[in-house]
Symmetry: C2
Subunit: 478 residues, 2 copies
């Protein structure tokens, strides 16, 4: 083979590799493709060879070039299927009172006899390989006695240092002493709200939003002001601005990225705008960054706090979606409000378990967390892509589905008139669990919506469950 | 040796053994001695031989017989030193607002450079021998993957079954499904209050009481009604009755046994009376049984719930004082209010860490928890006895000290005019930490009081610290 022949071979091989990644769902529709430089380095070819490969994929309709932004995976589905419309909740505060539906759903969702479409919990088999348990066993053997104490008030110092280092990577400057370790993201959100609101206050949130958040608000006697939310871009800054001008809102609580259940990703510029509006009104922002590490695009999206340094922002995170739901290790970064947070924590859980925190610290510093993240991101992205296809095949014609840029849930909008709670009853009889739409709001909405979890490796069983669910929905239309 | 000689030898040996236990603080003044039957069986002698030994000790003034009740260790200290007087807090509800004193004290209390008289935390070296860490290492190796999940809503079922079995031993009938596992006793108390009160409500409590409890009340916007409390018998049932008749009290929260800081033990008859008064008024009782397993007497005292079955009682417990402060495994038994508790928990911590719960379950079922308890009880009883003696030797003449029947704290009443917060500042300069009296109330009281922790094995270092503290108090009188 002469030089030219080798070159031909190389660019075709790179193109085939990239196309395979798209087919396997590793690169998803709408996702930014690796930069030319990165692709060239990864394949060991020159920049011009990589460009040849990208042009070839553009010709084939696999990638599309966007000016000044690079190459993106063509979203062919967009051309055939509409996305759910932006939400338009009533512009007023609502008292949060949830019925027992969540508890029932959770009980079924953790029952292994049911298809795992209900809870946004990743498959334990997928996560355990991360090796965290080995670190826990080691910590118990090595440190047991020294760690059988109440931790420092903020939690294990080594873990807080690791978290501070990682935050810095995506531009979030954060001192270890600004971090408090918590019992999962739930306690982080609870403490953040406790430290920035009083009973009866109104909190502006996304709509739809995670039902657990609604229960936290209810427990703290807080009222919810739901904001119009775009399924791809997040909340509408103008609507937020209107609400703040009208007054009466004490805090705003938003997903940093990949809102549960929409999976939306707010562009940096809009995040900055939102942070600016809140600062202008002197309103604290609580952000839930629990899904930030599960990005399908090349780069981890930045939390609000990284884009608006110095603003009054409390950032919540956790290992529950990426490594260890069973460890209950989360954190709250709250510069400027740390004493209020610690005081609240003392009156709720005192402190967290010492050895699991130590195991997480060791795992972050030496356990290949990044490798682990790459692996689970691929699995989630593939399940999201495959489940979307299965929904296309089996659900009623006019079903709309989100196109999440990260996380592992899909939000479906069924044709008007279909009631997801009726579908739920039918599905439960067939041992299929999912989360009906009305759980995700304090208003009376989303009856024809539902959330499916994509936290498990795609297999024939999951596929059959989704297809059967689609059939049940079709039958309800007859 | 003929039969008579052997008999002589045996009763003297048994008497010497019992006297040694009194001297070493294993049997403490005021404590009931083992029954004749038990002592006879333990020493392998006849009942009549055991009786001879007990009569001998009675002659020597070591034991005293009480009609229909058995033999008790003579409380010789009672004759030389008065106990603190029963408290008489104002008969009204108070808003709880604590200053930062607790946080400062906690930071110093966990600093190993300071003498550990501050926090009521047992010595890690004392507890780690229990072997719980080995169970955790094993659980992580064996169960890791299967346990990397959110637990059932109530927490690990095996641990709840073990707790139910143990409760039955001291007469507390309790279904595993009436138990919710929590992040230590703090979350148990928080959830119990959350499930039985609303913000602004008044809760009747002991006085003095654990400062952590006051912080929980503050966090829940609850007001405190402090009840007169006898340092040996607990709260005054008549005062409780008066307060309830006057109205406005929503719940009552009491120690089951060995109130922190007084160490008092309410007799069963009075416990029944208190439960009856509360039932009569339809007021729930939350009991904190965290110290129940650390009894210096032969029998574990029974919680209120065991004495008043069917009453509206929520019982809180934890392993933090006996095995593992670092594990943060506690529980709340709340028959009749379980759904309210679970709902509250979902909005605070979601669920607890799975592997530490599993390790506790294995430890209870196979790890010799009872042996472990016997050992730590002996250590705590000895430290309490030795520290009392050191206080007698070194503190100002009129210092009064409690005579706890369990737990591991002493409450001191210094001569009037001495301010424990001033003493605290002087002690901190010499690296001695303790808890000043005003931390234990929401009223403005107990300035001349303080609490010392006896959670460590008695040694020369502890002795010197107590003696030095006594000297500092004496110097303040000059």
């Amino acid at each position: 083979m002469d030089g030219t022949g080798l070159e031909t071979y190389r660019y075709e091989a790179l193109a085939a590799e990239l196309e395979g990644m798209v087919e396997r769902g590793i690169l998803c529709p709408g996702m930014r493709a690796p930069s030319l430089r990165r692709a060239a380095r990864g394949a060991g070819v020159s920049l011009s060879t990589a460009l040849l490969a990208y042009r070839l994929l553009e010709d084939r309709g696999v990638l599309e070039a966007r000016p000044k932004s690079g190459f993106y995976v063509t979203d062919r589905r967009d051309r055939t299927r509409p996305r759910p419309a932006p939400s338009r909740p009533p512009e007023e505060a609502r008292t949060v009172t949830l019925d027992g539906g969540v508890a029932d759903m959770l009980d079924l969702a953790s029952n292994p006899a049911f298809a795992p479409l209900g809870c946004a919990i990743p498959d334990a088999r997928l996560l355990a390989a991360g090796g965290l348990d080995r670190f826990l066993a080691r910590a118990a053997r090595v440190h047991g006695q020294g760690y059988n104490i109440y931790t420092e008030r903020r939690g294990d110092a080594a873990l807080r240092r690791e978290l501070s280092r990682r935050a810095l990577r995506h531009g979030h400057g954060l001192a270890p002493d600004d971090i408090v370790l918590t019992c999962g993201c739930t306690e982080a959100l609870f403490l953040a709200l406790k430290a920035s609101t009083r009973p009866g206050d109104v909190v502006a949130i996304e709509s739809p939003t995670y039902f657990g958040l609604l229960q936290i608000l209810e427990g703290l006697s807080l009222r919810a002001y739901e904001l119009p939310t775009h399924p791809e871009r997040g909340i509408d800054p103008e609507a937020l601005s209107r609400a703040l001008v009208r007054g009466g809102i004490a805090a705003c609580l938003l997903s940093s990225s990949f809102n549960n259940p929409l999976g939306c990703l707010t562009p940096d510029a809009i995040k900055r705008e939102i942070a600016g509006i809140l600062s202008h009104h002197g309103i604290p922002l609580i952000e839930d960054d629990i899904y930030g590490d599960i990005h399908f695009g090349m780069e981890r999206p930045r939390p609000f706090a990284a884009l608006a340094p110095g603003a009054d922002i409390l950032t919540c995170g956790s290992f529950s979606k990426t490594v260890a739901p069973g460890y209950r290790v989360g954190w709250l970064a709250a510069p400027g409000r740390i004493e209020a947070v610690l005081r609240a924590k003392f009156g709720v859980t005192l402190c967290g378990p010492a050895l699991p925190q130590k195991a997480c610290a060791d795992f972050l510093s030496t356990g290949g967390y990044d490798n682990h993240l790459r692996r689970v991101r691929r699995v989630f992205a593939e399940t999201v892509a495959r489940m979307s296809q299965a929904i296309d095949r089996s659900f009623p014609e006019d079903t709309k589905v989100t196109d999440p840029k990260g996380g592992f849930v899909l939000w479906l909008e069924l044709p008007r008139g279909l009631d997801s709670r009726v579908l739920y009853q039918a599905a439960i009889r067939e041992r299929i669990c999912f989360a009906p739409g009305p759980l995700f709001t304090a208003t009376d909405r989303y009856r024809n919506c539902l959330r499916l979890s994509c936290g498990h490796t795609w297999d024939r069983g999951l596929e059959r469950s989704v297809e059967r669910l689609g059939e049940l929905a079709r039958e309800m239309m007859e």
